[in-house]
């Protein structure tokens, strides 16, 4: 039986590696190309795209804007969502399923369905065409991921430690920083990472709420794709996914062992 398994393993692994690695090839090659005419298998190599990316101020400022927006969104999402995640993870109460579905709504309702009305309302409350408006709009869409992920982490968390600490005289702040956060830390990091990634890749929402005022990296990338400047678009794509992959590398062990994917889904 063991032999049987290893025989079926090789084709499965081959398909997995091809499916994930082959799509990286054209992005890498185009980013180092000057021109690439059919049917050449290799492009005319050139560092033009990379020179352009690092000298073009609009791209550099878009990287900065993306980092600022996604960091603010992640922080705000954590502050707003943390108490809700703790309540959902550690308590049973009436109407819990309805609350869960309500919180899940922004993750499942298509962005296009919500964003038209959001544009109108945000305009009325002076949030459109501003950084604050974009941050608040993105926070709505990152909340479900953070809350459901973190709630799952809290499911396996023992509340008694908190009670012991407070009986021993620790105030709320000390319980939070010295008991709760250390014991849920890996799950907390993965949940924040999910929120960051969801914010980092928003295109349509930023376009329609931010207008011309907020130019993040996805907006820059779509402008490049529309003008069919593939070499620069590919260089920007690589810059775009690098921080995310570094974060994945740091946290990948949490993803499969005790992380969000498992808990977040088991919880429901």
């Amino acid at each position: 039986m063991a032999k049987n398994r290893s025989r079926s393993r090789i084709p499965v692994l081959a398909v997995l590696y091809i499916a994930i690695i082959v799509p990286i090839i054209p992005i890498l090659m185009w980013s180092f190309s000057f021109r690439w005419t059919y049917p050449n298998l290799l492009p005319t190599w050139s560092p033009r795209a990379w020179d352009y990316v690092f000298s073009q101020s609009s791209i550099i400022s878009a990287i900065g804007a993306s980092i600022i927006v996604s960091t603010l969104v992640t922080g705000l999402t954590l502050i707003i969502g943390y108490p809700a995640a703790k309540a959902l993870g550690t308590r049973e109460f009436k109407g819990k399923t309805i609350v869960e579905i309500f919180i899940l709504l922004p993750a499942i309702v298509p962005v296009i369905s919500a964003v038209m009305g959001m544009q109108g309302i945000y305009l009325r409350i002076y949030l459109s065409d501003s950084l604050l408006g974009v941050v608040l709009a993105q926070t709505v869409f990152t909340l479900p991921y953070l809350i459901l992920g973190l709630a799952a982490v809290f499911k396996n968390y023992n509340m008694e430690y908190e009670q012991v600490a407070s009986t021993l005289g620790a105030d709320r702040w000390r319980v939070l920083t010295q008991v709760t956060v250390p014991s849920i830390f890996p799950g907390l990091v993965v949940s924040c990472l999910f929120a960051f990634v969801v914010s980092w890749s928003q295109y349509l929402l930023t376009l329609m709420i931010g207008g011309a005022a907020v130019n993040t990296l996805p907006l820059e990338l779509f402008a490049l794709m529309t003008s069919q400047d593939y070499p620069v678009a590919c260089a920007v794509s690589i810059i775009f996914i690098l921080p995310v992959l570094i974060l994945l590398g740091l946290t990948s062990k949490y993803l499969t062992t005790n992380g969000v994917a498992k808990g977040g889904i088991n919880q429901i």
Binding site: I108, V109, P110, F222, M225, C234, L255, A261, I265, I268
Partner: protein, 292 residues
């Protein structure tokens, strides 16, 4: 230390989602019913819905988006099960395989879309490989995979993104809670196929159902991927809605809102059905556990 009330803990989230998300959704419904119209005296009008539901461009788009979402979800589930079943056993090189498996999870959908575009257009990289091996004589004899009417390019991009997402959920389940049950079944004489059908698959169902709903909703409502890879006809619903919304003719705005609301209704109905199903499954499992 007094315990904080549950509703106080939930309040910030519920307020933010209500004000910044639910109110806009209600506003969209009112706009689609021409509620704020200055030109007509009529209180509400269903004209936008009548116009939309009787136009073939909408019904074709609806069929297109539903088909694409369904095919990419089902294909992703099947691939996810096979890959996760393979990766749960230990073997040399498993750590690398696990890293590769998770690689696409944080990569944005449209970056995957860009590489599908560069790979599969008629002058794309795969077409060049085919040409080099003499399989095709000119780029025009390469099959139309991107910008095609069946949305094959869009489906490929979605599947590459979705199968790791569903798969990691299945895998972490396989690595922990299910193992004991499976061993018990094996001791009782169940073979591999019986164990899969009667033990593993039913236990995977809640995870698969939940992640599939997220994935299906995403594929159904995505704007970016069909923008990069979709055909001019039929358009994905999100593209059709966006184009009507940004049309110079302001009369097409209520139609855009009507499309948006129909999309919301379809997705919310699906999720409620899925939750009812999940609750039934959980209750059945609780009852079975109670018997033991």
């Amino acid at each position: 230390m007094k315990e904080t009330k549950t509703w106080v803990m939930l309040l910030p989230t519920i307020l933010v989602i209500s004000i910044l998300f639910i109110i806009p959704l209600i506003y969209t419904v009112l706009l689609s019913l021409n509620f704020f119209s200055i030109t007509s005296n009529q209180a509400i009008s269903f004209n936008a819905y009548v116009d939309i539901l009787t136009s073939s461009s909408f019904t074709d788009s609806l069929a297109f988006s539903l088909t694409i979402a369904l095919i990419s979800t089902v294909a992703s589930i099947l691939i996810a099960i096979v890959v996760s079943m393979t990766l749960r056993n230990t073997f040399i090189g498993r750590r690398l395989a696990l890293f590769v498996y998770q690689f696409n999870i944080p990569v944005p959908h449209y970056v995957v879309g860009i590489s599908i575009l560069l790979l599969f257009t008629q002058t794309g990289l795969v077409s060049r490989w085919f040409y080099a091996f003499g399989l095709i004589a000119s780029p025009s004899s390469f099959p139309v995979i991107v910008f095609d009417q069946n949305g094959i390019g869009v489906i490929i991009a979605f599947v590459l993104k979705f199968f790791p997402f569903i798969g990691i959920a299945i895998l972490s389940l396989l690595l922990t809670s299910i193992k004991d049950y499976e061993e018990q079944a094996a001791t009782l004489g169940a073979n591999r196929i019986q164990r899969f059908i009667h033990v593993l698959f039913p236990m995977m169902m809640p995870s698969i159902l939940f992640s599939s709903i997220l994935v299906f909703a995403y594929a159904f409502g995505s704007y970016e991927v069909p923008f990069l890879l979709g055909s001019t006809y039929p358009k994905a619903l999100a593209i059709l809605a966006y184009q009507k919304f940004t049309d110079i003719d302001l009369n097409s705005r209520p139609e855009a809102m009507a499309i948006a609301n129909i999309m919301t209704i379809i997705i919310v109905a699906l999720v409620i059905l899925a939750y009812i199903q999940l609750n039934t499954m959980n209750r059945m499992r609780a009852r079975q556990n109670g018997k033991e």
